[in-house]
């Protein structure tokens, strides 16, 4: 279980090799994460590559004003938030439930097989899955609509109906990732002290009661940790996935900040505007992760620093 650890003053003389080993990592972080942050200035410039970061004309908050004046902005922010929140909730719930269920299976071979099968889609890229899903979800001859038709349902235009698109995005994302996410919970489950179960049985707890009073509290810190970490990505609704599945038909509910930035920045070469939107996204992300970190330390006693 995670617990708040009070650090002692660092003993430099004894620990210096450890700090030295930290150095390459820190250098990488600086080069690839902090140095590129200089590029943020593009958000406040009419950026011209030949003049560089410091020669381009400053335009102040013009890009931000333009961004807020665009009719798309409200839609894409809402789309991003809705899709990301649904993904976070489902992305926590499904793997936890799955891990609990799998944990109850005693037969090792079955357990392993199931785990490998659900774990597999994680390794497929959205480019490939995008092509597969267009066929699987097709209205004429797609497997899903055929199965639904046995029950007298459909056909549904999953990838073209703005009302269904977000659902499709969330379900396919959860389907792809839940097997992989469950690994963490399975690891946490195996870390629970068996003595606790024995004690619970002694006290007459049923299977259900054991799950409720021993298993769930045992993995709760990990669940909270995962939730906290995922909230930092609340504005990442999944560029790869949506980019490969969306179309003008579902812009209304499916166009997110990242796909918009891609179109404005890379396709239309509006570097300043695209950077401004990206920066806006990062600032909101920072606020959200700060709040969630505070909440996690307050309610789950979880701290990183």
């Amino acid at each position: 279980m995670l617990r708040y650890i009070r650090f002692k003053p660092v003993n430099w003389r004894r620990n210096w090799p450890l700090h030295l080993m930290l150095l390459p990592g820190l250098a990488m972080l600086a080069v690839f994460q902090y140095v590129p942050m200089v590029g943020i200035v593009i958000a406040f410039q009419d950026f011209v590559p030949t003049r560089g970061f410091f020669g381009s004309e400053w335009v102040g908050l013009e890009h931000f004003e333009f961004m807020l004046s665009l009719p798309d902005t409200a839609t894409i922010v809402m789309n991003t938030l809705i899709i990301a929140v649904m993904k976070i909730i489902m992305g926590l719930l499904v793997p936890v439930v799955f891990a609990l269920l799998l944990n109850e299976i005693r037969h090792h071979l079955v357990k392993r097989t199931v785990q490998t099968m659900v774990y597999f889609p994680h390794f497929l890229s959205w480019v490939i899955l995008g092509g597969i899903l267009v066929d699987v979800l097709s209205m004429n001859g797609g497997a899903v609509n055929q199965i639904l038709s046995w029950f007298g349902l459909g056909p549904y235009f999953f990838l073209g109906d703005p009302g269904l698109f977000r659902g499709v995005i969330v379900v396919t994302d959860v389907w792809k990732e839940f097997g992989f996410s469950a690994i963490i919970y399975l690891a946490a489950l195996s870390g629970i002290n068996p003595v606790l179960y024995e004690a619970a049985v002694m006290d007459g707890a049923t299977r259900w009661r054991q799950v409720w009073h021993v298993t769930l509290p045992g993995i709760m810190p990990i669940v909270v940790l995962m939730a906290t970490l995922s909230i930092g990505g609340i504005l990442n609704a999944g560029f790869d996935q949506i980019f490969n599945l969306y179309s003008p038909l579902v812009y209304k509910t499916g166009d997110i900040i990242d796909t918009w930035v891609y179109r404005a920045g890379l396709l239309d070469m509006q570097y300043g505007l695209a950077t401004a939107v990206g920066l806006f996204k990062s600032v909101v992300g920072l606020v959200l992760i700060s709040v969630s970190y505070w909440a996690a330390s307050r309610f789950a006693n979880y701290r990183i620093f």
Partner: protein, 560 residues
Amino acid sequence: MPRRQPSTKSWLHLLTVITLTTTVACSTGNTTNNNSSVNDPAATPPDSNNTVQEETNLGAYPETVTVSIGASVGAGINYPEGESVEDNIHTRLNKEMLNIQYENKFVVEASKMSEKINLAIASNDLPDVLLVGAEQLQKMIKNDQLADLSSVYDSYASDELKRNLEYQDRVSFAPAEMDGKLYGIPAPKDYGNSIPVMYIRQDWLDELGLEPPQTMDELTAVAKAFVENDPDQNGQKDTYAISLESGLNTLAMDAIAAAYGAYPGIMVEDESGNIVYGSTQPQMKEALGKMQELYALGAFDPEFGIKDYSVTVEKIMAGKVGILFGAFWNPLYPLRQNLENEPDAQWNAYPIPTLDGGEPTPKALPFTNEWLVVSKDFEHPEAIIKSMNLWTDMFISSTPELFPEAQTRWYEALSGTHKGLEAHNYARPFFFDSPFGNLEVGRELREYQATNDESKLVSAKAKDVYNNQIKPGGLQGWAMEKMYYEAEAVLDSYESLTYPAFVGAATPSMLSKGSTLGKLESEAFVNIIMGASLDTFDEFVTKYHKLGGDDILEEIQSAS
């Protein structure tokens, strides 16, 4: 209005070139003319003016000049054994004939090229020569990244190169000119690429006792019959009448819109002579109303909104579609592949239908939408023109004057080592084509067909097409006949075409509002076709003007 080319159009370009290789002639007759001019720097280029010839060396450099480019690989770009993107027939011929060594500063997949170029522009890390689109060109001019090419073009370009690039009163040069300077050399494609031709399954028509449609009402009737009366006789209702894919600027939408006098995606002149945006005109509303009606009766794939051109191609090949509004080269792809699957299929080409059966006036886009640009740091901008001269003589010219030997070797390669490899795709520095070459070849072939007089086949290309491709027959012969006898004849029969009324450089608002407006338009159009109320169109027009359309029109007004 210059806009981002949708992926459909990139397909078109990729595939056009299929046409072009196959039309190349095998003219061994021209080899002996004047080899000396190639290798001897002092040799006089034909017809060039005396003051220029003193310092203008159209042949090989005395010392090797190295030129870096951004190269692409991917579908349609195939090398024979022993060749690669670094070292191939084109780099070798350039080295040998001109002493120019081409190097690749980067190599990317063809479909990612535009993005890679955007990155290269943004990071100011450019190769010596690039092939860029209109918006990239404007960006680079604004960034002051490009060399002025006006003087090297004037003194180095061969007459044949000029004749091809300057087709239709130098219209291709306008977007690359600014303040009396020339920042890009046009890389034209065939003028017919953007002009729709109606291909129709004749066997389906016969099966159902129908005539090829000439009016929109007849088109609707044929579409209905193709959907409901099982034209392929397999007992299943699994056919679509008209192929349509997602995106604006599809040839199917262009063809149907043209019947109503609507020209989506380009700037047009209204009755009072003002420049207006074609997609927002009332005619477009009527056209969309028609497409909605066709969609409702099942003429299109109900999921067309999420499918791209590759799906259209698949369905044509599988014999599920009866009408294709396509380009003149479509017999080579995908119609030919349909015949491989269904040997009994019959495709005929007709002019697009009109509202009342009169003369159609289809939309046509400029035949140049890419330009060769040279970094301003590059010391030998003339090397590019020299390579373009070489390519013109190899591929376009019927009487090559500077490099006859290169043409001979190129044709030999095409019928030998490079047969069927579409090797023109990796021409150095970049591929371009004559805008009118296929039109001329088609005319000669039809003349010959009508008169049976072999002297009508004047150009080497026409002779090659006839002797090496049509005569041997087979599917290739079938496709070439369809293309030159029928599709090119349809193109030739169009008496008027509607070109964009504005072909200048993209205005600032086009660049900054383009993506918002494009999104608005594609969303509105797809929804209307799929059954949304026609009032959606009026909402779209209001929004278009409010969100930047007015600014764009104002900028165009002040620019012209």
